[in-house]
């Protein structure tokens, strides 16, 4: 970059604007990584760095120092800041003097301000000294916003809170706001970069970029953000809602299992009745693998199997064909479920007995909302002991269906071995046997998303008699086969399992992708399907998630009571500008402007044909100016018509003739002889012809499409 390029971007306004934008991006990035003092310090550090480097880099002695030594200085500042922060936290005397919290806050502030200062000074330095530096800087800022937006795309719409709350209380998707921020920042920074190169063209570029961003936001408003493709965990969400393809799929190959999107919220449940699960987890059943298809368990194709399940969504209320028993040991629970991603089938708190769809309070956020009526179990361990399995109205054939398993003697062998050590009074107790098997899996199984069993004929056998390393699908299938081998009717339940602690005392519960689960369940006579879920004590996967209490509460509030939430919104909106209306007005205005621009553009070309001869010199000349302007030849401010004509003559020599004639009429005496209408038209067509010959086809197409070209002809 040469000197005059630098000086043109040295003004106070560009400098501080750039500092603000970069500072804002640091702040956005730091929000989720540090405490308030840290992010404020990051913002401040960046501001100072930007302003200082803009002021000092071109002066003595900074302009003499090499780029590498200045970069080393930045790195030095970074490390000394981190060191100082360490010192602040680790020195007991300081902590005692300030109180530990204050010391920690100070340390965070020091660390973040140093980091932000060093990084932004380094970026600024590179932007000054190298040609790619400015691009790196823009990429950094864009990246900061994209990262924030990407987090949002996983449903963390509450971060940063004030944007999320601000938007939601006005009924706007916060993504729009975040997008707008991102667009604004990128546009401004690119504009600043352009200041350094094309000072004159700045407003034009600004307008084009602004329009692009506005159309991007418009697109998102109309069609929504592209939903991130989540790993189709257990086939709960993938393949739309009807799940035809899922029947043919091998559940063990449900896709590459990764924990990347484990945080992604998939649904929110609002509890209308008080309920605490006995075993510490809420189980939401969606479907079950119960019929053995020759290789493994699959969705049943018999009408009499799993009639307690409801497979499809309906617009009204839909009840199960079969209610669970032991009503006195169950409590009716009504929950409202709002799915955030599309689901195959409705799911409800075990055991669901009816679903009723409800009005969607926010179709931007919820794919579907419905009330789930459940009879949730309250029985404990003792209640299940000494029970028989199966159901009295099951046919012999049906019982056989629930007992079928792969033709592998090892299952029965292992099951018998595991149950052989039971105390005499429990040797024939199905629940005790099941519990013994569960205990074996709990103690010996290793939970891991990575496993080698997916392509075995019987992945469950490969798991159970192999390394015992797998995820819930392996555990549940293995357990189910073991139960069945002992004559206990069992199936694999599919749905979500959420730790009860996640509810955190509130009435809403957020279900995240990681909560997708499969578990074995056993049918006990006069009770129903009972979940006997192995919980491996060893795990190779970090299954913890950040608490999402705010999001949980926010979504819950949104879902809970449509009417009251709407009322709340309305009361808030009374005192606020209705942003939706503003935005809609803006788009309408844009459309009207676009249309009228085209109208004006067309009118100015055709006007000469319909006007009097004495106006021809003006109208034809204006039409010719429009033609030139459309291909990017504009008269500069203060430039005379003759100069412009000379300049334009490389593209269209006739322009000089037209200009001379135009000026003769415009500036000459009234007695000057005018040309005839045909002669004027002839001159204009000559210019149009010359432009067709001298201007590339692409440029001409753009000239035709661009509605605003006439604005620049003067």
């Amino acid at each position: 970059m040469n000197n005059d390029v630098q000086s043109s971007a040295q003004g106070l306004v560009p400098t501080s604007l750039r500092a603000l934008i970069i500072g804002f991006s640091y702040w956005i990035v730091s929000i989720s990584l540090t405490v308030l003092s840290g992010s404020m310090a990051a913002f401040g550090g960046c501001l100072v760095a930007c302003l200082l480097s803009d002021m000092l880099l071109t002066r003595e002695p900074m302009n003499r120092l090499r780029t590498t030594s200045l970069l080393a200085l930045c790195i030095g500042i970074f490390f000394s800041g981190v060191l100082l922060a360490q010192l602040l936290v680790n020195t007991p005397a300081l902590a005692a003097f300030f109180s530990p919290v204050v010391a920690f806050n100070i340390a965070e502030a020091v660390k973040w301000s140093a980091a932000a200062f060093a990084l932004s000074a380094a970026l600024r330095l590179l932007a000054y000294r190298t040609s790619v530096g400015a691009v790196i800087e823009i990429l950094f800022v864009a990246g900061a916003f994209v990262v924030t937006l990407a987090a949002h795309r996983n449903g963390m719409i509450h971060r940063p809170f004030f944007i999320g709350d601000f938007a939601l209380t006005r009924g706007i998707d916060p993504s729009t706001i975040l997008l707008a921020f991102g667009c604004l920042a990128v546009v401004s920074l690119s504009a600043l970069l352009m200041v350094e190169q094309h000072y004159r063209r700045l407003p034009y570029h600004f307008a084009v970029l602004g329009l692009l961003c506005l159309s991007l936001i418009g697109y998102v408003r109309l069609f929504g953000l592209p939903t991130p493709q989540m790993t189709d965990d257990l086939g709960l969400t993938g393949n739309g809602q009807n799940g035809g393809a899922g029947q043919d799929q091998n559940p063990f190959r449900d896709s590459e299992n990764t924990a990347d999107d484990k945080q992604a919220p998939v649904a929110v449940v609002v509890f209308r009745d008080d309920y605490e699960p006995v075993n510490g987890s809420y189980y939401f059943r969606e479907s079950a693998y119960s019929q053995f298809n020759g290789t493994m368990l699959d969705f049943p194709n018999r009408a009499d199997m799993d009639i307690d399940l409801i497979k499809n969504f309906s617009s009204g209320r839909i009840d199960t064909q079969q209610l669970p028993d032991a009503r006195d040991q169950r409590t009716p629970v009504r929950t409202t479920v709002g799915t955030l991603v599309a689901h195959r089938s409705p799911f409800g708190l075990s055991s669901p007995i009816a679903y009723e769809s409800t009005p969607n309070p926010n179709d931007l956020r919820f794919k579907r909302t419905y009330d789930a009526y459940s009879l949730a179990p309250e029985y404990d361990f003792d209640f299940l002991l000494g029970r028989e399995t199966g159901r009295s109205d099951w046919s012999e054939d049906l019982v056989q269906q629930y007992l079928e398993l792969p033709d592998d003697p090892r299952y029965r062998q292992l099951a018998t071995e595991l149950t052989s050590n039971l105390r005499p009074e429990f040797t024939n107790d199905p629940y005790a046997k099941a519990w013994a098997i569960k205990t074996y899996l709990d103690e010996n199984g290793i939970y891991s998303l990575k496993n080698d069993h997916a392509y075995e004929t019987d992945p469950a056998a490969s798991f159970l008699f192999g390394d015992l390393t797998g995820y819930c699908m392996h555990f549940s299938f293995a357990a189910t086969y073991l139960y069945r081998s002992l004559g206990i009717p069992a199936r694999v339940g599919i749905g979500y399992s959420v730790p009860a602690t996640n509810r955190g005392g509130g009435s809403s519960l957020l279900i995240q992708a990681i909560n997708g689960h499969a578990w074995p369940e056993i049918y006990f006579k006069d009770i129903g399907w009972v979940i006997v879920d192995p919980a491996p004590q060893q795990t190779l996967v970090d299954m913890t998630t950040d608490p999402q209490n705010e999001l949980q509460q926010l979504l819950g509030d949104m879902l809970r009571d449509e009417a009251s939430f709407d009322d709340y919104l309305e009361t808030r909106q009374d005192s606020l500008i209705d942003f939706k209306t503003v935005l809609n007005t803006l788009y309408t205005l844009l459309a009207v402007m676009l249309l009228s621009s085209y109208l004006v553009k067309t009118y100015r070309q055709w006007a000469p044909s319909y006007s009097k001869p004495q106006n021809q010199h003006r109208l034809i000349y204006r039409a010719a100016l429009d033609l030139l302007s459309a291909v990017g030849i504009h008269r500069n401010y203060g430039e005379s018509r003759e100069q412009f004509a000379t300049r334009a003559s490389s593209a269209s020599p006739s322009m000089q003739v037209l200009t001379a004639k135009h000026l003769e009429i415009a500036l000459g005496s009234t007695e000057t002889k005018n040309l005839s209408k045909q002669q004027w038209q002839h001159l204009k067509s000559a210019i149009a012809l010359e432009l067709r010959q001298s201007v590339s086809a692409g440029r001409r197409t753009w000239a035709l499409l661009n509605p605003l070209t006439w604005l620049w002809s003067k």
Binding site: Y621, A666, G668, Q679
Partner: protein, 350 residues
């Protein structure tokens, strides 16, 4: 400056005019031809100075005078001489005391009478006869005008302003074509009497000459002998020049938009804080005929922005006093012209 290419296009256009459409146009064409003949006569003698020649002719026709700032040996005498000698006097005026060309070298010891002329006692007729000084010429080259005393300068300037010379209370009129090219060396200022701004106001143009380009300089050397032999082949009668002056004044149209641009530029200049004293109203009054000549030279029957852009810096440059510490006259003029010129350009669209 390629005046040829500029004049070509409109003349093609005028071919489309029906014959005898307007006699005024034909008159104007004749005046333009006179100017072109005059300029080619001078151009044959002075090489590489087309721009200065053009300005000199504009000043001559517009009844103004020119102040040249340049270096010794840059061809200004040749220019003035060629211009003076290109204009021939009709046989009937042969007895007139007016010469074609005179050169006055100004020195500190020069007296006013050396310039204007002096009454001499004729013992035969027993009366004083006025002996005409060098001012009685069509073209006068006043060399190094800043080297002479203010007294001589003022006598000179009276002649330039009033077109007359007063000696011993007798006023002698100068020729209608009286045209002064004065020079001063911008660098060698020791022992000079710089002309104050009010006196500079007498000059229509102040032109700064640069050295001519390489090709032109070579051409000067190559054609030296030839030009000396040829002398002035093309000549124009004094009557034609005066007629051209009259025609141009009458038939080149100055629109209100052009006048507005001139006034607005002047007003802008006066309010510019970099300017200590703006240009006078007289300066734009004097500029009008010059603009008309410039338009005619380009074959136009109306004054356009092009003429203003060409002449305004040369007319106003020496009439404006800048605030202390400010030196970039051209930039100041450009800045203040920009907005009125933009208005002028926009105005043509209605």
């Amino acid at each position: 400056m390629s005046t040829d290419s500029l004049t070509e296009t409109p003349s093609n256009e005028s071919e489309q005019d029906e014959v005898g459409y307007k006699s005024e146009i034909n008159l104007l064409e004749r005046a333009t031809q006179t100017l072109h003949r005059l300029s080619s006569a001078v151009k044959a003698q002075v090489l590489g100075r087309d721009d200065v020649i053009e300005m000199a002719i504009i000043a001559l026709i517009a009844d103004g005078h020119v102040l040249l700032e340049d270096f010794p040996g840059s061809g200004k005498t040749t220019l003035a001489k060629a211009l003076g000698e290109a204009i021939v006097v009709e046989p009937s005026d042969k007895e007139s005391p007016i010469a074609a060309f005179r050169r006055i070298q100004f020195t500190p010891d020069l007296l006013p009478s050396d310039v204007t002329g002096v009454p001499i006692f004729d013992s035969n007729s027993n009366a004083f006869h006025f002996r005409h000084g060098p001012l009685f010429a069509h073209v006068v080259l006043a060399d190094e005008i800043n080297r002479t005393s203010p007294k001589v300068q003022s006598a000179m300037l009276e002649a330039m302003g009033e077109k007359q010379v007063t000696v011993d209370n007798v006023t002698y009129p100068l020729d209608d074509l009286f045209f002064v090219i004065a020079t001063q060396n911008p660098l060698d200022l020791v022992g000079t009497y710089p002309l104050p701004t009010p006196q500079l106001d007498r000059f229509l143009f102040k032109l700064t000459m640069d050295h001519i380009d390489r090709d032109a300089e070579l051409e000067v050397l190559n054609t030296l002998k030839q030009r000396k032999q040829d002398g002035n082949k093309i000549t124009i009668s004094r009557h034609d020049v005066l007629e051209a002056r009259k025609i141009i004044e009458e038939s080149v149209f100055v629109s209100d938009a052009v006048k507005t641009a001139l006034v607005d530029t002047s007003r802008n200049l006066r309010t510019d804080e970099r300017v200590l004293q703006g240009n006078s109203t007289r300066s734009i009054v004097l500029m009008l005929p010059a603009l008309q000549v410039s338009a005619a030279l380009r074959g136009r029957s109306f004054v356009s922005a092009e003429d203003i852009e060409l002449l305004l810096p040369k007319v106003l440059g020496h009439r404006i006093e800048l605030a202390p510490g400010v030196s970039d006259m051209n930039k100041i003029l450009r800045d203040n012209m920009q907005e009125p010129m933009e208005q002028l350009a926009r105005g043509t669209l209605g």
